[in-house]
Each structure stands twice: as C-alpha cells, then as structure tokens.
Point group: C3
Chain length 280, copies 3
C-alpha cells in the first residue's frame, strides 16, 4: 500500500491512476503564494519524490486565475517587522528562501509536470510556470514579472526564468514589468501551447497526458534527471553517465519490454512490478 | 548637482528626466565603429555607471542607419601597419579589444537600455544590438554577421550573439554572412519587436520607456545585475544572494513605498531621496 | 594531391569543388543508425578534419527518410547478450558511446554543415539534426524524441538537443515522445527553415551553400571553432583569445584580400595558396 497523500489545507488534490491533479485552492486571493501555500507545495514535492507510481502532475489555480504571485498583504507585515535583532531569524528572508526551495523542488520532481495557466500569472506565479516541464495557457492569460513595479526584485525566479525563455526575453520582461498575454508567452517560450479557452486548454492537457502515458515511467524519470543536469556538468561527464544510464535502461524490464514490443509491432505494457523500475 | 555629461564628438546626447537618448552621429559612414566612436561609447558607459538618476538609455544611429559595423577604411590601415616590433603595441589588437570592452560595459550598464534599429546593422553593429536589454527594429532594417565575407571573424561578438539568439541561430548567421531583415531578426530573438516604420518604432520605444518608468529605479538596477549573473555562478549562490537582495529591496524606501502603494491601491512614487536608493 | 575519400559502404559521397554531399544509403531501414552507419560517419568525420579544401558538408538520407534513429533490431540482440562477464566489454555500452562520439565529431567539424531533412527523423536521427550548423526540413518531415516510448533514454542526445532548442522545448519533446512536423520543428528552433517539398528544400540548401561560398574558408573555420567554445570557457578568456584570432585573421592572406576587395568595391577571391590559410 502506498501512503496516502497528506491533506493540504490550501491545495485540492485528485489522484487518478498515475496522474495527480493539483489545484491551488485560494481563489479569494487569486491563489497568491502565502506562507501556507508555499509550505503545502513544498511538502507535496517532498512526498512526490517517493511516489514512482505517479507519472504526471498537473498544476493549476482555482477560480480562473493561475497564481497572482506573492501574498503582498502578509508580505507587508513582514517588511514592517523589526529584523534588527540578529538573534531572531528574519521571516521575510525565510519566506523568500522557502519560495526558492519550492522552485528547486518542483523543477526537480521525478514526475512529468504540466501547468494549466488561465487568468493571472504574476511575479512568483510566473516562477511556477517556469519550473514545470510543459506550461499550457489560454490566450487570455495575463503574465507579468511585476516585482519591480512594487520596488522588489524577482530574485528566486531569475535563474528559472532565463532557463525557460532565454536571457533576452527575461531582460525585457523583468526590466519593464509590463503584462503580456498568452500569445506572447508562447512566442518567447514561456508556454508551449496557447488555447482559445479553458475547455481547449484541458483537452490539450489530456492529449499531453496520453502522450506521456505511452512512455516508460522509469525511462521518463531517468531522462528528466539527465536533462536537468545539462549545462551544470561537463559534457564529457554527461555523455559518460548517459551511456551508463542508457545501458541500464535498455537492460531493465522496461527496456526489454519496449524493444520487444517494438520488434513485435505491438504496444508495450508498462505495468511492471515495482522492483524492475529501478534504473541507474 | 550632477556632473554634466562630457561632450562626445561622435555622439549626440539628449538627457530628459531619467532618460538619456544616445545617437551615433556619423551618418557619412553609416555610423561605423571608428576608433573615436568606440572610445566615446566606452567613456559614456563609464560615466553612466555613476548616474543612478538616469533610468533608461536609448541607442540609435543618425541618418537612417543603426551602425554599419567596423570602420573598414581605418581598419585597412591598421592591417597594413607593421606589427612585428614586439616593443610597440599593435593598434589592430588594441582596437579589437577596445570594441570588446565596449560590449562588456554596455551589457553591464545599470540603466535599462533600448536600441532603435533602422537600416544597416552589420558586423559590430549587431554586437551593439546584442548588449542592450531590449532591441527594437523596423521591418526594413538589414542585419548581417558579415565578418567572414571580408576574411575576418566575429570574435568579440560571439558570446553576446549566442547569449541573445542561441547557438543555433548564431551558427547560421555567422557561418553564412547572409543579410536578413527585421522579421527574421525577431523570429530568432535578436530584436523583441518589429515595426512598420520609424514613427512606429519611436512610438514603441516611448511605450517601453513608460513601462520602465513605472518600475522602482534601484529595484531595476538590482534585477538587471542579478539577471546578468545567471549562467555564470552556481544556482545555489544565486539563490542565496537573491534572497538577501530581495530582503534589502523590500526593506528599502522603494520597497516600503511600493508595497504600501499596492495595498492602498494607488500608484507608487519613486521620487525618493538618493540615500534611500542604495540596495545590496 | 588530396587523399581520396575512403569508400564507405553505408554512405554515398559526392564531392564537387568545396562541397561534399553525404547521403546515408540504407533506405531499407530508413537509414537507421546501425553499427556500420555510425562507424562510417565517425570515420568520415575523422577524415574531414584533414580536409581544409572542403568548406561545406551536407547530410541527408536516401529514399525519402532522413534517419529513423537507432537500429532497434541490432539493438535487441545486444540487449539480450550476456554482459555479466566483466572481462568482456559490453557491445551495448560501446555502441551507445560510439554514437556519442559521432555527435561530438560532427558537431566539431571544421566545415559548415547542413542537414536536409525529409520523412522520419526519430531518436538518434534528431541527434544528427542537432549537430549540424544549419538544419533544413520539408514541412512533411516527422520528428520525435521517441526513446522513452520503447523504455530507453535519449542520453547522448540530451546535451545537443538542449543546445539546439533550449531546455523548455527539450523537456517537452523528450518527456512526451510525441511526433511533430516541420513547422513545429522550426518554431522550436530544431530546424532553421521549412520548405514545401524536396525541390524547394534542395533549392534552399543550394542558396545557403552559395552564401557560405562567399565567405573566407579559414575565417569560417575559425569562427565556428570560437562559437563552439562559448558557454564552455570564461568570457574573459574567450574575448582575449577572440582578439588574438581576429588579428591573425585580419593579417592573413584571406583578411588582406577581403579588406582590400571591400575597399575596392569588388568581390574577394578566396583561391589562396594553402599555406596562407593557416590562422590561429
């Protein structure tokens, strides 16, 4: 028996087969990243590291907005707090670091992750869009790296934003704060596809999930981990390790089933005993 | 009192509020990068490092061309010069290194920088387009990494070109020398927007400036400096420093004004005493 | 006299002036990357390192497909082979490493390389598309990073795929395995241009070759080598070396001819004695 998903106050969770649908459930604040939301998303990521029975995680917001960014109300209180006592840790610093943790953890999830973006994706909400594998949006979604318009800096987001859209588009977005729509988000690579409305957005997501489910689960996790190392390690090391991972995958139960099915011109079956899924 | 901008023989300078408009003023050579132009642009960059009262710098060329690249006439004389005497520094080497200095300095300017590109942007002129934050062009502008067509190499430009358009588009442009127009420049990310004519180009630039002016000046400078570090430092260090910079910005006068204005649903005022603008 | 191109069983080679046309000639397997094809492409790359009289290399597949990826039949046999004896080297590991060698060698070729892609470009075939300087495709070409659909991982390809299309498009393609056509390949930067049919594809390639042939051959090789170093060495070192390479190119016979021709408003002639082509 798998451990049940822990209850998360701020998130609605729906697990169906290998697909976990996560909805940030704070529509009253347009799903702003309060301390509680950040903690719940961090805890969920920690749990998902143990769930190799889950292949896909989708992320969206309740009530027509994706995520309006930082919780400026709670944030204002932290700004005003006296942080001059060096013996007391600064809640503002902790909260920003914790948001950075969230980005790192979600970026590194072993599952294939898909964001469905409608309505507002501002500030920290754009950060979430940058750490999923595939971001989808409606044409009417509104994006902005709006931090500098309230005197703060998109600090934790910066590396993930550049990884996603390149330095050029990142400089423009972060140094103007200007809002932009779904089509421009696609043009700069922030999202992969744009859809006319929510119905089409969900259909596009379902089609992607069907694509992912055709792939071998451990091979996906190994591939994702390898892609995340590119640019951070030397190419020689990546290619040496890559060959070793390739051979381990090919000789695993998944690899044998996949190659055999290919040669027999039939669809492979990935319903494999758990022990066979370990690779590399 | 601020020190006045030094006179620059080859540049027309127009400072209005926080916006400095720079025009390379050598229309007879289509604003080619003579030794004098390079020196004037370097000296200006050095001055701008001290000017936190200037938020935006625009760069364009006089007379309908942006910049036709190196000054091949002056260059031909340097090629012919005898550089065999090791006691004498080689003017050709110095001139190329100085152009590299120019790219580094402009890339690192604390101000938000915008290029307005019409007509020719060849060779070294493309380099200038690669080091501003936002490049805008008319549809009729002509770009080319034309160095190899006269037997030389786009050496100083190479890292900035790849940072701007990626390795793929850089390889194509630099290894064919072929000219291309504004639409292709936008498609590969060399420019952010393309406009029908000069009037629209200027209107697009004005709109961008208005966007930038809504942002807090020190937050912009901090954000730009952080974006420029991505890819050059470890992500751990970037995120640690990022959290520290975030907190400093949030507790600065700018941050307090920005957050307060947001919560009071009013526009913030960035007319702050100078000492309050120091962050990080 | 140049040494003749060695005979390669699996490749059709056509050398005309400075242009070598390479066709993978295994239409019965849609030009799958058998051990023999990989060896022949590696050996050819080794030979081309000595051929500074060849400026352009084109790569395509015989019979309407570019390259269907790994040779899954031969591959299945290697998977089944007992690799438990540590004294015997594993043919599967060797074969994957050799494919990695192929990608590195072709990526680093001194010649300007162009791929013409029609029909299938799957798995390892996409890897080939990622290591040429310029990839062209027909609209009807079909691409897929299909490895995970048969339980294996796109390991050697990963760094080159990210270099070509960025991390975002690479994550989507590699983590879904979904096939996509020429237009999407262009949209993500996997290919530079898309054409209606084979005739237009070949015409587009001919136009690119004509562009390349206007450039100085040694300047091209120096430029390509420098572009390949970006991101792998510090910018200071790149710019220092770049200035040295610039000066060497400018003072070479090619550079003197190119600058003189430019000033005399005539086309340069690159038919230079071989000793003058050495730069850097």
């Amino acid at each position: 028996m798998r451990p049940a998903l822990a209850h998360a106050e701020t998130l609605a969770l729906d697990l169906d087969g290998g697909v976990l649908k996560v909805t940030i459930d704070r529509p009253g604040t347009r799903n702003a990243l309060s301390v509680e939301v950040v903690e719940d998303l961090c805890a969920l990521a920690e749990h998902l590291a143990t769930r190799d029975d889950i292949q896909v995680v989708t992320l969206r917001g309740q009530g027509g907005s994706f995520c309006a960014g930082g919780d400026i109300g709670g944030f204002g209180a932290m700004v005003s707090a006296d942080a001059s006592d060096p013996g007391v840790s600064d809640p503002l610093l902790q909260s920003n670091q914790r948001y950075g943790d969230l980005l790192v953890r979600w970026n590194n999830l072993r599952q294939v992750t898909i964001a469905l973006i409608e309505g507002a994706a501002f500030g920290g909400g754009v950060g979430l869009a940058c750490v999923v594998d595939i971001a989808l949006a409606t044409r009417g979604a509104r994006f902005a790296i709006s931090e500098t318009r309230i005197g703060i800096v998109p600090a934790q987001i910066a590396p993930f934003l550049i990884d996603r859209v390149g330095a050029t588009a990142a400089r423009r977005a972060a140094l103007t704060g200007r809002p932009f729509g779904g089509d421009e988000a696609k043009a700069i690579g922030l999202v992969s596809e744009v859809y006319a409305d929510t119905t089409e957005l969900e259909a596009g997501c379902d089609a992607l999930i069907a694509d992912v489910m055709q792939c071998a689960p451990t091979a996906l996790a190994t591939t994702k981990a390898l892609l995340l190392r590119v640019g951070k390690e030397s190419i020689d090391r990546l290619m040496d390790d890559g060959a070793r991972l390739f051979v381990a995958a090919a000789r695993s139960a998944e690899g044998r089933e996949g190659v055999t099915a290919f040669l027999e011109k039939r669809a492979p079956s990935w319903n494999l005993p758990n022990d066979d899924k370990k690779v590399g």
